[in-house]
């Protein structure tokens, strides 16, 4: 069993196996389930993710009306051919947004690692499709690799916004995605770890401040940028760039930052964007509560 990223990478190198393979082996050991059962179950999750993206790209709107429709706007913009930051990057962003718009509309999604951060991993995965042409098995492997890195974060730090802020949710999701992108693109396990470290470093300190306590503003756009962050960090790692601070130490820093984060900035809708004049106004409107009562 691996306890941290260093052990995971070492194990992969010594056994000459992919990280996804190690995650599957560990799952077999822990649950006593067969390889087929485990891969089947992940396949079900993959299907849910794909359906959520498709639904979001058709356009959805949340009950509060705060979010929805941005994935469609972005897809239309990509089709115009005028995009500046590149089609694949924007495709990942739009698919991450699509997933979280479906989530905000109380649709069916797969938490990766949480519902509020569910867009990043599928967004990047389905954007890579055209270029890397992965088989269904490879897409499932992508999820196991992302899961392996998320597993380490969840056990050594946190994946809960209420406990560690948005850095623990979208931050973790982005790091997981970056590591999985590297593996799918043919990078080494060590490069996966570098990609995760580079991504998470750029998410440190991110607070969880949802307007009206809803998983909408700013969550949907944080997933958008989480996907972009993961794609760029994966490219950096594949280019050979390394993080001066090792991945496990970045995870540890994230944990400690989360512990010192005030409660107002950990999913209580008491601070940050939730406490802005507009945030408060939206909250009052949605719940029909007069502003002075908040």
């Amino acid at each position: 069993m691996f306890r941290n990223v260093a052990e995971l990478v070492e194990l992969a190198d010594s056994k000459q196996k992919k990280i996804s393979a190690l995650m599957i082996e560990q799952e077999m050991e822990v649950t006593g389930k067969s390889r087929e059962q485990i891969i089947y179950q992940m396949g079900v999750n993959l299907d849910v993710m794909e359906q959520a993206v498709e639904k979001g790209l058709q356009g959805v709107r949340s009950v509060s009306g705060l979010t929805g429709g941005d994935a469609v706007l972005l897809q239309n913009y990509i089709k115009s051919g005028n995009s500046l930051s590149g089609e694949m990057l924007l495709d990942a962003v739009s698919k991450a947004v699509a997933t979280n718009e479906v989530n905000a509309a109380m649709g069916t999604i797969c938490a990766t690692p949480t519902a509020g951060s569910a867009g990043v991993v599928p967004g990047t995965l389905f954007a890579l499709q055209n270029k890397l042409k992965p088989s269904r098995e490879e897409k499932i492997e992508f999820l196991f690799t992302a899961g392996a890195f998320g597993f380490v974060v969840a056990n050594n730090a946190s994946i809960s916004g209420a406990a560690g802020g948005c850095q623990a949710e979208v931050g973790s999701a982005s790091g997981m995605a970056a590591a999985a992108i590297v593996e799918m693109a043919g990078g080494t396990p060590a490069q996966s770890a570098e990609a995760m470290a580079i991504t998470l470093k750029n998410m440190l300190g991110l607070v969880c401040d949802p307007v009206a306590g809803l998983v909408e503003v700013p969550c949907v756009k944080r997933n958008a940028m989480g996907a972009a962050n993961a794609m760029v960090a994966a490219d950096m790692a594949l280019a050979g760039i390394t993080s001066r601070i090792p991945c496990d130490e970045v995870i540890d820093a994230m944990y400690k930052i989360g512990q010192t984060m005030p409660s107002a900035l950990r999913e209580t809708a008491q601070g940050g964007l939730a406490a802005t004049p507009t945030g408060r106004e939206l909250e009052a409107k949605i719940f029909g509560i007069p502003l002075n009562k908040k």
């Binding site: 989530n103 069916t108 797969c110 949480t114 209420a162 306590g213 809803l214 409660s263 809708a269």
Partner: protein
Amino acid sequence: MKFRSVFDIIGPVMIGPSSSHTAGAARIGRVARNLFNREPKWAHISFYGSFAKTYKGHGTDVAIVGGLLDFDTFDERIKESLEIARKKKIKITFREEEAVPEHPNTAKITVGDDDGELELVGISIGGGKIEIVELNGFKLRLSGHNPAILVVHDDRFGAIANVSNILAKHQINIGQMEVSRKEKGKMALMTIEVDQNLEDQVIDEITALPNITQVARIVD
């Protein structure tokens, strides 16, 4: 390690919008339902911390009631659970508590009917994973992910051995076991997480043992 399975990270499949505040809440409600072992006539639900501040926006209320109605995290009926409960004439009340809990996402559920009641405290620790930390005033730690039995018994010598003997006889492996009591020699609670679901016969045999007051089962 709190998280043992990759499906704690990539999963669960669920109705949005929040894994901790929606899916986790549904799971806490469902554990209460399983332990009560029947549909309650009424439920009092208290929210603490982040749950208290944001439950309306996250659908924590509909999710927890969905759980009490035995709906899983991906059951579309969660969205209409309050309406369904009303039609079934289940009386539900919610309270936003001011007290600062140990964990930010804490809910206390009391359910009951004419024949009895049950109170539990659950926490949602992230990604949809939950722990039950208190049952009828007893402290415990129950993930809700493995099949488990809860045995209320008199705090007497041999009570624990008798229960584990029956499990051994049926070749059931104990993954984790915890015993707690409020006072020496009075009522105590055994929490036993096992590797496979338990047949009725096992439960019946344990119930028939001396010094055993109540046995509840949680299926995986």
